[in-house]
Symmetry: C2
Subunit: 238 residues, 2 copies
Amino acid sequence: MSSPQPSARYLQVKHYVLDQVAAGTLRAGERVPSENDLVRELRVSRMTANRALKELAADGVLVRVAGVGTFVAEPRVHAHPLEVRNIADEIRSRGHEYRVRVGALASLLASRELAERFELKTGAPLDYSLLTHFEGGLPLQVEERYVNPQVAPGYLRCDFTQTTPHEFLIKVAPLQRAEHTVRALLPERRIRRLLKLEADEACLLIMRRTFSRGRVASVADLYHPGSRYELAANIQPR
Amino acid sequence: MSSPQPSARYLQVKHYVLDQVAAGTLRAGERVPSENDLVRELRVSRMTANRALKELAADGVLVRVAGVGTFVAEPRVHAHPLEVRNIADEIRSRGHEYRVRVGALASLLASRELAERFELKTGAPLDYSLLTHFEGGLPLQVEERYVNPQVAPGYLRCDFTQTTPHEFLIKVAPLQRAEHTVRALLPERRIRRLLKLEADEACLLIMRRTFSRGRVASVADLYHPGSRYELAANIQPR
DNA sequence: GCCTCGTACCTGTATAGACAAGTAACGGCC
DNA sequence: GGCCGTTACTTGTCTATACAGGTACGAGGC
């Protein structure tokens, strides 16, 4: 973990295979030496060869089929993950001052559209919050959130100047799953004013649903000024 | 892999730990039973306990420190990956017809801005392509791409009706790294017309840089209609 | 009080050996 | 020809054992 053991022979095995893939000796779809081949060729135990191949398979470099063999994976540079981070962490990690303004707190009854997103019946009670997150004086995110009080009770009693809604939720309701969607749009006037946007400025919307105990715990719409916010990621395939 | 062996005792170990985390018996930061504890409690070999804990650590549920112990990770629901996929695959996987129109192919000299993105000198030669990708008749992506011919030669001779630029590049130049940025904006008129957008329709822009042999191989701006395109991801923490 | 050393414990890694289960190919039987 | 079982090979998993290197902590010396 922190300090790799001197030998690390499974790394030798990984490199042995990776080098052949990189050099083109082994091409996509072709069969990789079996664990027993590697035992003979590199004088390692089978468990070590197994670990090396298993890790390469987990990384997506190889594909293993029980009873058949191990193969070079088709190059899938297709799926590139982008990270959606906690806004307070993100601002602070840039060394800027973070501030939040509570715009509204309320409990309300689900409209048809909200009920659909929550997979509940229309009219079900929901908690509601509207927060604006500031980076050094400028609004960077408007967070409009709805919470199912049946799943995460006590939401409205939370002090949002101390705890972000997201932090509160993962404390109260064990998070099972999250669902994200990213869109670009011209925001309605209400959002535009909260984000201090020009009339012709686009807005990056991240819609997040979190699930707890099989039910939708919360639905959040995160609006960001298109001119000041972007999602970024660096990916190293392999 | 495809069919788990009947026993799968390392799964018992994983569940043994996960259940305690889910139940709150083990909280964030607390120490989980050591490998030797699990050997005694569950009557498995240490290698099996090791595998279980190692996998949970790889999933981000636990944190392991050599010589100290294994601990429940702080709930980091902060980093949520979103996937950027190959547009042709994406359209076909939805069962729709994919079509591409080549708008322009050219070689040109780098402007100051382009040179910056390529980390080259102004005036360096670049290959250029402008493609529009259609999903069943409607434009879904305008792909404006610049390629460094020094890194990936022969780009302009590629038949883009058969191969996407991305596919060509990973064939010609081994991909080392990719860098993505997502923005929302109101597009200039040229892009708006290619995407058949209304004047007040926002646009989701994915900027991608790919690196090969330590140099920028290609820079791509992928424009999508805000009304018809979104990025999505489902994440299961644990 | 402070430093040092020894000890106990923890994880990281490697090995050899074993059985289970899936797959493919070959050969024999009908 | 078509079907079926044997056989060889593959990965998946488990066990027992071993050594290395890191950390924490207490005992003892200064």
